[in-house]
């Protein structure tokens, strides 16, 4: 090849690039739907939680009560009833508070007033995480944020709970 053609793309390079490009395109077209299928859970819209009747308003005390309720759960092709737990009470202002029992440290289940040293606290047995009555984590214990709070709605003296959200 003469000196003049040095900056030109050689036949071999051209074919290499074209074949790699076309092959890459075909491969991508083949794999793209499969990857899309795999990441589908990331694309699914977060379903809105329904509100479920839990207890009557006049039964709510200042002492947290443990209440269970069931929600309709749709897990892909599997529909089932899942049980949820809430600690329900009236706080100092008389407002209703419904706390999720799921520890914000690593997801164990907290219990109320089971520890003799701290009778007025929520306690997580896994790593000794503690929360005060309002569900705020005690500094120096493992949890990093307060217990999540259920969305609530009071209708005709009846308490309905939705999904639990971080505060």
């Amino acid at each position: 090849m003469s000196e003049k053609k040095n900056n030109q793309v050689s036949r071999r390079t051209f074919l290499n690039y074209t074949l790699t490009g076309v092959g890459g395109f075909m491969g991508a077209a083949m794999v793209a739907p499969m990857v899309g299928m795999a990441v589908d859970p990331l694309l699914q819209a977060d379903g809105e939680g329904d509100f479920v009747y839990v207890m009557d308003e006049d039964e709510i005390t200042e002492e947290p009560q443990r209440k269970t309720f069931t929600i309709d759960q749709e897990d892909g092709w599997y529909e089932s009833q899942a049980e949820r737990v809430a600690w329900i009470f009236r706080d100092g202002n008389g407002d209703i508070l419904a706390l999720s029992p799921i520890c914000t440290h690593l997801g164990c289940i907290v219990d109320w007033g089971v520890q003799d040293d701290h009778p007025d606290q929520f306690y997580c047995p896994c790593h000794d995480g503690r929360y005060d009555k309002d569900g705020v984590n005690i500094p120096g214990t493992p949890p990093t944020e307060p217990l999540h709070v259920y969305e609530q709605r009071v209708d005709d003296g009846r308490l309905y709970l939705g999904r639990a959200n971080p505060r």
């Binding site: 299928m37 892909g76 092709w77």
Partner: protein
């Protein structure tokens, strides 16, 4: 960048000779469709391999959603087909690819047969090829049951009856395949799933490896 990474690895592991052995060989003129169009018959083996790759990949992704259980199998297929992004496409690839791979391996077999390419010294590769053909048919048979719809159920019923018609050991073969002498049900489905997803693919990969090593060692047959 890529060249640098390649050099870094090559300097340590000397992979260029391996790569040369696998991929860098000339295509003889008589098998190159650019020279003689009729040489397209030599493409069927490669096409079989290509579609097999698609089958393996799409199958891997399908198992992310599929459940081999009579309660959930059909529902999970329905879900991945109608609710999952691109699920219809991926299942379509696996569904149609299953037929395409069978057609391609059949055409490949015909080419080798009518060209007499199976003759000495390539008899062993012919034997391996025939085994591959049976493995592909087995994959088609076992995969057909997995959606657990009516067509799948009754096709398997018929297939098992055919297996049962083998003299003497027929009933035992049927029980072995179905997991029960009388029922096509829960045990059949899990068995077929295990065979379809683990046993036959393992056999397929081993045989394909042998097939390719032999063809590289012996080279393709000369012109007719």
């Amino acid at each position: 960048m890529l060249a640098k990474i390649y050099e870094w690895i090559d300097e340590r592991l000397d992979i260029t000779p391996i790569w040369r052995d696998i991929a860098d060989h000339e295509v003889p003129e008589h098998v190159n469709p650019a020279h003689h169009f009729s040489a397209f018959v030599y493409c069927f083996g490669g096409l079989t391999f290509f579609v097999t790759v698609i089958q393996v990949l799409s199958g891997m992704f399908l198992t992310m959603y599929y459940v081999p259980d009579i309660e959930n199998a059909w529902n999970s297929v329905q879900y991945l087909q109608s609710q999952v992004a691109h699920g219809q496409i991926v299942r379509g690839m696996h569904h149609w690819g299953a037929s395409v791979v069978t057609v391609m391996i059949f055409l490949h077999t015909l080419r080798v047969f009518f060209q007499g390419a199976y003759k000495k010294p390539r008899e062993l590769n012919w034997v391996v090829g025939v085994l591959l053909f049976f493995v592909i048919l087995g994959l088609g048979f076992t995969g057909y049951l997995l959606p657990w719809d009516n067509k799948a159920f009754f096709a398997t019923q018929v297939g098992l009856e055919i297996a049962e018609s083998v003299p003497i050991i027929g009933p035992d073969i049927k029980t072995l395949l179905a997991g029960d002498p009388n029922i096509v049900g829960a045990q059949t489905l899990t068995r077929f799933f295990a065979i379809h997803v683990f046993f036959l693919p393992a056999a397929l990969f081993g045989l394909m490896g042998a097939h390719f090593i032999m063809i590289r060692k012996q080279g393709i047959t000369g012109p007719l």
